[in-house]
């Protein structure tokens, strides 16, 4: 060794913060690492808290899943399967849409019972006073009853009052009624588009939701111009902001929007 050449400082193993994954960690590095890890985890959790506070209010829909209820009334299948009842607290006829579990409408089991008086059992979904029954699986969902056992049978049988409004153009969103009433929250918007499309494709009735300047929602059950269920041409517009030209019709407690699918415009 050249004795005149000063020896440069060697890496001091105690202070050297070099890390090697199969060797002991220097005490000074251990402290540095502890600080880095604590800061990173704190930042990570704080980010989670900030991001989670950005959820929008999904609305007031409720799905009483796990608590089956019975309703007695008359099954009607046009434009969509529903049970007409007269609730004690209302006094007028209410239409409870019928759907199956999953993303299926109630048509398959309701159609053979069209016009029958029945006790229907299932899970209630409700939002803004609109109600729907998700039918129980199996035979427990339907039981035939005598007309005399149904409260308000006369009013149910009477032809509903129909008020037709002139054609009008409205802005809003086409949703699947089941998710929007509480099966999925939120049950609208872009992220829910495929779910809503699949629901409507499976027979769940589509509803057109409009909002006035104060945010108040109005629900229109969508039908074709003849008042029957709409076909699959509506699917590409589900969950998008759209403008639709159609005819509004109030039929009893139901508000229908009779539309030509060809008039739907994506905004």
């Amino acid at each position: 060794m050249d004795s005149t050449a000063p020896m440069p400082p060697a890496a001091d193993s105690a202070s050297d913060q070099f890390y090697c994954g199969y060797r002991p960690v220097a005490p000074s590095l251990r402290m540095t690492l502890a600080v880095i890890v604590i800061v990173l985890i704190a930042a990570f959790v704080a980010t989670a808290a900030v991001m989670s506070r950005q959820h929008g209010d999904p609305g007031t829909g409720v799905w009483h899943f796990g608590t089956p209820r019975e309703f007695v009334g008359r099954i009607v299948c046009e434009p969509y399967p529903m049970l007409l009842i007269v609730p004690k607290e209302r006094g007028d006829v209410e239409a409870l849409l019928l759907v199956e579990m999953g993303k299926f409408g109630g048509g398959q089991r309701a159609l053979p019972r069209d016009g029958q008086w029945a006790r229907v059992t299932g899970y209630l979904l409700e939002r803004d006073g609109r109600r729907m029954i998700e039918l129980l699986d199996g035979d427990a969902a339907f039981a035939a009853v005598d007309r005399s056992a149904v409260a308000g049978a006369d009013r149910i049988e009477a032809p509903p009052e129909v008020h037709e409004v002139a054609d009008q153009e409205m802005f809003g969103e086409i949703v699947d009624t089941k998710c929007y009433l509480g099966a999925m929250k939120p049950g609208d918007g872009k992220a829910h588009k495929e779910c809503a499309t699949l629901c409507i494709r499976g027979g769940i009735p589509p509803t057109f939701i409009t909002r006035d300047n104060f945010g108040k929602r109005t629900y229109y059950l969508i039908t074709d111009p003849a008042g029957r269920a709409v076909d699959e041409r509506i699917l590409p517009f589900v969950a998008d902001p759209v403008k639709i030209l159609g005819t509004v019709e109030r039929r009893g407690s139901l508000l229908l929007f009779r539309i030509h699918v060809t008039t739907i415009q994506r905004m």
Partner: protein
């Protein structure tokens, strides 16, 4: 570095790393979920499955952001090298989090219907001509496939079979994957929840990744430019690269000659050796490593090579290129033509007896 393959070569460091990763991801998901539950309660409550899906997606996005920050942070400060050391574990955990996000989203949004969930995912929304309605899920699916390929090849078995360069190229796909994730978030969550705070968080994350890469890259360029200024000497191709006192005992120094590959100069036992700066494993900067137990030790993952011949100690077999080196007076000189990997070159003594 390994002489055989096992799923994970566990040691205490890896266990601690994985426990910290699991703790951080779990805390993120739990915090997100609990705050989401507390914000809207009763009839206003967000569905649990939606909350879980959002928590997993947000966690995967933030975790991927951290992964991309670790690389440049480690270039800027050696304090972050321990995070880099087992980064692939964080990568696999991120992929699993993203996979769970996809499973929950596909299960609830696309399941229980008339179509197979995957068919529904690919077929239901075809509004490719509309930015507002664009099927953003496809961006997420493409990113998930890339992360799957990366996670499934995050093992030295694949590193050896694909070659360091091929493996590195494959894993550079993390950048397109991140871009796809950002598009997925921008056209999905940001359009669905019109929150300026959420937009700010995403922009901050993307900016942080970009800024750190630019700063680290500029620092590399400055370092290269500084070491490149050394004028070549005449005759026999020797190039003066640095002074012997520029290299600390037991450490290395990176030099860059012209546009050639960087060279790592090491000082060990009062001798100077020169090897390529590129580790055979993942291209780590050997010159920023240390001499431990007489071997050059890569700062990224601890791969080791003997300075005198660039060969890994037995039972390992990896080899790196070496360079002819000599000490003239107080200066270190090398011939900047790499010798075949594993070529023995006697280290140059600092006491004034140059070898070449």
């Amino acid at each position: 570095m390994s002489s055989g393959y096992v799923a994970v070569q566990w040691n205490r460091h890896k266990r601690v790393y994985d426990i910290i990763v699991a703790l951080a991801l779990s805390l993120f998901i739990a915090t997100f979920f609990v705050i989401g539950r507390l914000m809207y309660r009763g009839e206003h409550a967000v569905s649990d499955e939606i909350l879980l899906m959002r928590a997993l997606g947000a966690c995967a996005f933030c975790s991927l952001t951290v992964i991309l920050c670790i690389g440049p942070l480690a270039r800027l400060s050696t304090r972050f090298l321990p995070l880099l050391y087992n980064r692939r574990h964080l990568g696999v955990a991120t992929f699993l989090t993203a996979l769970l996000h996809a499973v929950v989203a596909i299960g609830f949004y696309h399941g229980f219907g008339v179509l197979n969930p995957l068919r529904s995912l690919l077929e239901t929304n075809t509004a490719f001509d509309s930015l507002a309605s664009f099927p953003f899920q496809l961006f997420g699916l493409a990113a998930l496939l890339i992360l799957f390929v990366m996670a499934s090849t995050s093992h030295d078995f694949w590193l050896r079979n694909l070659g360091a360069r091929g493996w590195k190229r494959l894993h550079m796909l993390v950048y397109p994957a991140y871009l796809l994730v950002v598009l997925h978030v921008a056209l999905g969550a940001l359009q669905t929840q019109s929150s300026s705070v959420l937009l700010t968080v995403v922009l901050a994350a993307v900016s942080l990744v970009g800024l750190l890469h630019v700063v680290a890259g500029m620092r590399e360029l400055r370092t290269d430019a500084r070491t490149r200024d050394e004028p070549p000497l005449r005759g026999e191709g020797w190039v003066d690269v640095c002074g012997v006192d520029d290299v600390m005992e037991g450490r290395g120094r990176v030099v860059c000659i012209g546009t050639r590959e960087r060279i790592a100069i090491f000082r060990h036992n009062q001798s100077i050796s020169a090897t390529t700066n590129v580790c055979r494993h993942q291209g780590g900067p050997l010159g920023e490593g240390r001499i431990l137990d007489g071997c050059i030790t890569c700062p990224w993952h601890g791969w080791t090579y003997r300075p005198q011949d660039g060969t890994a100690p037995p039972p390992f077999t990896e080899k790196i290129a070496t360079y002819r080196v000599r000490v003239v007076g107080k200066r270190v000189q090398v011939i900047p033509t790499p010798l075949p990997p594993g070529t023995a070159v006697e280290p140059a003594r600092i006491d004034g007896s140059p070898h070449g």
